[in-house]
């Protein structure tokens, strides 16, 4: 459907090869010699969904501990060595995985592999109470900075808890609760490492200006002797009914700058045609400045400052579609709720117009081109498809799958899922009138499903 930006949208001739070490480590290599850089990305198949009651936030706290030294890397050496070699690095934790990545000048690739292997194989020889106490405080400050000290900052956490019921592995977000962060012990961290950090629970990708044979030899040299094990605990079952069954609603009275209406919907899992169709539906409805909700609420009704949909793709549970509308002064919740209902119902009945399909597909294709524009972005996508779907090659054909979706599939998923009985609604009522008095510099709002070590 629609015309496409590239004659062959399957990512312009990118290829990837797959390998497996005897200890179970899966390796994906992809060559690109245009720029002298190489990305190393390591996905561990563990995320906040593997956490147990009373220990939320442990996977992310643990990710921070991975930067606190290992057998041959003292203290902050991991950061120091990578940055000193002209590289950049970080780690992030989401519901379904934890990733660690370095982008290096190509001639320093071997160092990044050595560093990742050292902590995969020997973290516990360096992990101590001092690091644990320090990073616990750092992570608590991360939580304050990104969520607790920000207007509407806990909205995503609240919506998640409404969409995935108590006891469900996705009920809590990766940042975890303050109480659980306080309760985590050094022994919890050690046990977490022993359970989940093993070569056979990880995928390593190396992308960029590399010699595949030599790279594979380095991988074998540094990672090959790390013993695999079968200690991993599978996450609790994430399956749920397709819809919530009835609308949930929470009204919060908080000191926020304006009234807001947010809603979260259960959507099809990532990796399915219906998942891609849902992405297109949310894009047409609320994915840009020509989307239906933007045109209706921001342009025509002038009832909202911003209005849009976001999608959190999940493979092990229903994905989450997130509506976020910030009100213009003087408008009531009922005004906007009625308009949103009307637009969603019309879309579910009519489906997208051919023009809307073309625009939504062009936008998603462009997002893919952006993600694949850097070696780091490509390395991450290869790991994602290898870990979550068992096949890194799927990363190279993802755009084609989005372009293959039909308008009828988009309409159908909207009709099935974007319904009042499948949404958790969160309304913010400001506790005091927000009167504009002065202005400040503008910036981007951002929503985060992943936590990071560095900022």
């Amino acid at each position: 459907m629609g015309h496409t930006a590239t004659p062959e949208p399957a990512t312009g001739g990118l290829t990837a090869t797959e390998h497996r070490l005897a200890n179970g480590l899966r390796v994906v290599l992809s060559e690109d010699h245009l720029t002298p850089v190489a990305a190393v990305c390591l996905w561990y198949d563990v995320g906040s969904r593997h956490e147990v009651k009373g220990r939320t936030g442990l996977a992310h706290l643990f990710e921070h501990l991975m930067f606190q030294g290992s057998a041959q890397v003292p203290g902050n050496g991991h950061f120091e060595l990578v940055q000193g070699a002209g590289g950049s690095l970080n780690g992030t934790t989401s519901f379904e995985r934890t990733n660690y990545f370095e982008t290096m000048p190509a001639h320093e690739l071997e160092l990044a592999l050595w560093l990742e292997a050292d902590r995969m194989g020997s973290l516990l020889t360096a992990l101590d109470e001092e690091s644990m106490e320090n990073q616990r405080d750092v992570v608590k400050n991360e939580r304050r900075q990104r969520y607790d000290n920000v207007p509407y900052g806990t909205a995503f956490e609240r919506l998640t808890a409404m969409v995935y019921p108590e006891g469900h592995p996705y009920h809590h977000t990766p940042i975890g609760s303050m109480a659980d962060l306080d309760a985590a012990s050094l022994e919890d961290a050690r046990s977490f490492f022993r359970t989940y950090y093993a070569p056979n629970n990880a995928v390593l990708s190396v992308v960029g200006d590399i010699d595949p044979e030599r790279t594979l030899a380095w991988v074998e040299k540094y990672f090959g002797s790390i013993p695999g094990h079968d200690g991993k605990q599978p996450p609790r079952d994430g399956s749920l009914p397709d819809t919530l069954g009835e609308q949930q609603r929470v009204v919060l009275e908080e000191e926020v700058p304006a009234r807001a209406l947010m809603a979260a919907y259960r959507l099809p899992e990532d990796g399915t045609r219906a998942g891609d169709a849902a992405d297109l539906a949310l894009t047409a409805l609320g994915g840009g400045e020509s989307s239906r909700l933007h045109n209706r609420l921001v342009r025509r009704d002038r009832s909202a400052v911003t209005a849009g949909f976001g999608l959190l793709r999940l493979a092990g549970a229903p994905s989450l579609g997130w509506l976020d509308v910030k009100f213009s002064a003087g408008f009531e919740v009922a005004d906007i709720e009625a308009a949103v209902d009307e637009e969603l119902a019309r879309f579910a009945a009519e489906g997208p117009s051919p023009e809307e399909m073309e625009r939504a597909q062009a936008q998603l294709e462009r997002e893919w081109l952006d993600r694949l524009a850097t070696v780091g972005g490509r390395a991450d996508e290869l790991c994602r498809y290898a870990v979550l779907f068992g096949d890194p090659q799927l990363a190279l054909t993802a755009v084609g799958r989005v372009l293959d979706i039909t308008a009828e599939e988009v309409r159908a998923v909207a009709a099935e899922r974007l319904r009042p009985d499948n949404r958790a609604v969160l309304v913010y009522e400001p506790t005091e009138p927000a009167e504009p008095t002065e202005s400040a510099d503008s910036g981007d709002a951002h929503e985060n499903a992943a936590e990071e070590t560095g900022q």
Partner: protein, 467 residues
């Protein structure tokens, strides 16, 4: 969680840390400069493999050219450029852009306006047509301008609620003289924004937007693209009169050491912003200042975070940086030099005390050669990573144009950094961040933090109400 009885991995074979190989030479790309018949300056740069092309247009329409009492008109004019043209109304224009998978962003700042287009190369010509329409023939319908004004007014409370933005606003107000445009919010206040209308936007456009003073930077994989032809039918068709460049007034600031607390009862963290003004890119000290500032607070292993984050756990991260306000060869330019971050409310006093101690130690003992070496290796070494995408290259080239710098400034910058020694870097950072010449803004709970901060003796403490 069960304990695994299997080996923990300590049985792996260890190898010595590998030495790096031979670096592949890399240089910041040199753009090709030309001028279209209509006077538009064009910088083009072919970046193989970059399928998303970036086009940045610089318009020298500085904020200090906004008419008295109409702060924000530059921003609204910039936003209104994409709200309809002689060919499309506002909704159609947005739809056309998205049909091409393109984004078109505008930004108004002290030196001028930046219009940034990004689009897959296969649709470059079509998107250039939309960009040219927006610059050449914006419709500025009164009703759309009115909508943008109302939307802008509704954004203001959100910005005030953001601790980081509120701190930035207070720092500008403190640093710059009351009559200076820089002392006031970049996007205007409610009082000034509500006065803006269609005629005001059109007048600002007529006075400041024309091809002869503008520059377009085009970066991406241009294989098979006839850029001259694409430009001729789009930005080349933009017409306008000639104009003299506007003079740039000198920038002055009062950096008398003092503390202003913006009260936020109940805040769980305190947003810190310490700043003053200092050397910009035309100053010879710039590379040494970049190097020294990185050593102070460029990353998680710099001096500030080594103490405040990795030793004390007071913060998720504190950074020092230099951000150019305006820059020109005559020496009237300046950069804001600042330290920013958030610390837990109950440790605000101790965190600031430690921060001051880091600055005092730096002044007393200087940087080490090892610190300097690692910083140079990082700042120079990351260049090929940092400039992987077309947008990153275009952004830097456009900054250079905006700051009246030569096109090879960034390319030369790497050689200058490598030639900067420890002594120069120390001198630059110590004079950039003198402990008695920093204006400290704290957005936080005054009832909890004012007393501990007063006890530090880092300057007079005043408390202002939130908002």
């Amino acid at each position: 969680m069960s304990d695994s009885a299997t080996p923990t991995g300590t049985t792996m074979d260890f190898h010595p840390r590998p030495e790096g190989g031979e670096p592949t030479p890399w240089a910041f790309p040199a753009p090709e400069r030309s001028t279209l018949p209509n006077g538009l300056t064009v910088l083009r740069c072919h970046r193989p493999g970059q399928q998303v092309v970036a086009v940045d247009v610089n318009l020298p329409a500085p904020l200090d050219a906004e008419p008295e009492g109409l702060d924000g008109v530059a921003t609204l004019m910039a936003r209104a450029l994409t709200e309809g043209t002689d060919k499309h109304d506002a909704e159609e224009f947005a739809a056309e852009l998205e049909r091409f998978g393109a984004t078109l962003d505008t930004h108004a700042d002290h030196p001028g306006l930046r219009v940034s287009l990004e689009v897959p190369v296969s649709r470059l010509t079509k998107a250039l047509g939309l960009l040219a329409d927006a610059l050449r023939a914006p419709a500025f319908p009164d009703s759309e301008v009115e909508r943008l004004v109302r939307n802008r007014l509704d954004e203001i409370p959100h910005e005030l609620a953001s601790p980081a933005r509120r701190a930035a606003m207070e720092l500008s107000k403190e640093l710059f003289p009351a009559g200076s445009r820089m002392s006031r919010p970049r996007l205007g206040t409610a009082q000034t924004v509500e006065r803006i209308d269609g005629p005001a936007v059109r007048a600002f456009y007529e006075r400041h937007v024309r091809p002869s003073t503008a520059t377009a930077v085009v970066v991406g994989d241009l294989t098979g693209v006839d850029l001259d032809k694409a430009l001729a039918g789009t930005l080349g068709a933009w017409e306008g009169s000639a104009a003299e460049p506007l003079p740039m007034p000198p920038i002055t600031a009062d950096d008398t050491g003092r503390v202003v607390i913006v009260d936020r009862p109940g805040a769980v963290q305190t947003q810190l912003l310490l700043g003053r003004i200092g050397a910009d890119r035309h100053d010879r000290v710039w590379p040494a200042q970049v190097l020294g500032t990185y050593c102070l607070g460029g990353t998680l292993t710099s001096r500030l975070d080594r103490v405040l984050r990795e030793e004390k756990g007071y913060t998720y991260g504190v950074r020092s940086f230099g951000q150019v306000l305006r820059s020109e060869p005559g020496g009237n330019g300046a950069a804001v030099l600042a330290i920013s971050g958030s610390v837990a409310t109950d440790v605000t006093g101790p965190a600031l005390g430690d921060l001051w101690q880091v600055l005092r130690t730096l002044a007393a003992e200087g940087l080490t050669d090892a610190e300097r070496d690692v910083a140079v290796q990082n700042l120079v070494g990351v260049a090929p990573l940092k400039y992987e995408t077309a947008a990153a290259v275009a952004d830097t080239l456009a900054d250079q144009v905006e700051q009246h710098l030569p096109d090879d400034f960034q390319a030369q910058m790497y050689a200058r950094l490598a030639a900067t020694g420890t002594v120069e870097a120390t001198a630059a950072v110590v004079s950039a961040f003198p402990v008695d010449r920093l204006v400290t803004i704290l957005v936080g709970d005054a009832s909890q933090i004012a007393q501990p901060v007063r006890e530090l003796g880092i300057g007079e403490v005043t408390v202002v109400t939130g908002g």
